[in-house]
Symmetry: C2
Subunit: 338 residues, 2 copies
């Protein structure tokens, strides 16, 4: 026995019962005489026996594990800018899952295709999937319950809303209040809710205020450089732009560089604002006006919704309403003229 891990057979022999009785006694199943149960429990404790988690899970048909999957390209959310949106969600979701007795497996943006098919999970949260997200498709094909954090455009996947329209309106109203009259919108070219809904709300806002519609697209995978190029192109075509609302922080940082390189001052000549209030927004020079999305609460909400989906099996449509507080503006030097 020295050093070896005690098995169910050791407990059965020591307690003078069958292995089935040990299993029933320790798992609270079947009919076991209370005195026998007590003896089995005592012997198990004395021997230091621990039932196999894996065998228990196989029997119960659950992994007690959920996945958190990024759908953003490595260039935007991986590598040197790892400490962003996804990891902020991950920290809160992992804590929330643990408190519900579930482990959280991280599937961050990776350069190669993530090995999703070999993850033993009961369900997954996908962060801001675009309309054609392949990870979401693969997980759905496995029949797993999935919740999107941020609506997936064009599908009825259960989701926790990140209020993309409200966020962009908050930014546009702030920029207008600070004197912006020709405000451009810089969004990614993927079909992601934070671009699709933002562009829709931007057009509505422009129409309401008789403002020209200046929408520029950038490739997510181009990161900061793509934001720089898109902003430079915007300035060539519309020299009168006085504010840029960029829904990706990497694009906003690129836009500030493009403006500065042309000798334009931020915010005096052109204001810049972005969506996610992370490291990039706070360490940009000047620091960027951004939005508190209450990501921690949204992540906890996504865990609750997913656990509910797992209980009732894969389903479509409206997720239970999750109370994520409305977004709050965090004004900073990049857009404060007064």
């Amino acid at each position: 026995m020295a050093g070896a891990r005690p098995t169910i057979a050791d407990v059965a022999r020591e307690a003078g019962v069958s292995r089935t009785t040990v299993s029933h006694a320790l798992n609270g199943i079947g009919k076991v005489d209370p005195r026998t149960r007590e003896r089995v429990e005592r012997v198990a404790a004395e021997l230091g026996y621990r039932p196999s988690l894996r065998a228990q899970r196989l029997r119960r048909g659950e992994a007690r594990t959920i996945g958190l999957v990024s759908s953003m390209p490595f260039a935007v959310a991986g590598g040197p800018s790892r400490l962003g949106f996804f990891m902020e969600v991950a920290a809160a979701a992992a804590e929330s899952a643990l408190m519900h007795g579930f482990a959280l497996v991280l599937v961050p943006p990776v350069e190669a295709d993530p090995p999703l098919d070999s993850l033993d999970i009961d369900g997954a949260i996908v962060v801001e999937p675009d309309a054609d997200d392949s990870a979401t498709k693969r997980l759905r094909d496995r029949g797993l319950p999935i919740v999107a954090l941020g609506r997936q455009p064009g599908t009825d996947l259960p989701h926790v809303d990140l209020h993309a329209a409200a966020v962009v309106r908050l930014l546009l109203e702030h920029l207008r209040e600070q004197g912006g009259r020709r405000i451009a919108l810089l969004v990614g070219s993927a079909r992601r809710h934070s671009y699709v809904d933002a562009a829709h709300e931007y057009r509505r806002f422009a129409h309401e205020h008789g403002m020209p519609e200046l929408v520029v697209l950038a490739e997510e995978s181009g990161g900061t450089e793509a934001g720089y190029a898109a902003c430079a192109d915007l300035l060539d075509r519309h020299p009168g732009v006085d504010a840029v609302c960029a829904t990706v922080d990497a694009f906003a940082v690129g836009a500030v560089r493009a403006l500065t390189d042309r000798g334009l001052r931020v915010p005096d000549d052109v204001m810049v604002a972005t969506r996610y209030d992370g490291l990039r927004a706070r360490t940009c020079e000047p620091p960027l006006t951004a939005v508190d999305l209450h990501l921690g609460q949204a992540a906890e909400g996504a865990v609750s919704v997913l656990l509910a989906e797992m209980r009732r099996g894969p389903a479509r449509g409206e997720a239970p309403e999750v109370p994520v507080p409305p977004p709050v503006l965090v004004p900073r030097a990049s857009s404060l003229r007064r």
Copy 2:
């Protein structure tokens, strides 16, 4: 069959073989006629059958999952300051584990006791465990291979070194070069390598330069407030202090506030520097001089060491040498006088 997930029995019936033959054919075990194997594979593909990951794992005795466990109190590393050291390690470790075919389960700092015993993992990385870390103890009691990221004082647990002595020497030499002659060290009171090794190296440095030994301790769980109080106390007892080297970023931020509240200017009157170059260091006013610890590479190294430990079973002593580059100073306004 409509909607139901096909089982191994469906494949066996359709292919006209036993379930054991299906299992052997798909898992490449036992002796199966090549034509039979081909037929089973074709039928499995047609039916969309996927073998149970959980059953496979039970058979192979592995979870294909590793844990990443924080040993820091919630007050320092959890809640509003989640995006710190631990999550930077997590992002890199998750990516590295996935590339090796393992899932990474996050066990972040949680307010309650984390349910470590119910995690189905093959091994764990514990981040900077102190000498009495209870998570490490519980995981070792389960017989799991463990690797510490940052040496665990007083044990022979395999680890990846974070060079705490070299880090503090780098900071002290910089502060001295910037004119510091009465440099204080502010460390946590736990027995963590980043305090124990730092204090040892500080004393050696003070001795070398004939500098008074000014070491103040703060409770980790007190966070920024504890740093404030410790610095205020230091200034009361040693008004001539001209630099503070704080090994916890929260303490450094508290120290800057304590100095500013007394009307002292940073860095002109008193310089401040810290260890971890995270959000706190970069967004402090003034921004804090810190150190690039190459956490990403250290985390990847910890994954490699852990996988090696898992292959050879739990062991003690020296871990394979992991090439983490030497720490690099990131000088910022909080200590730049020249």
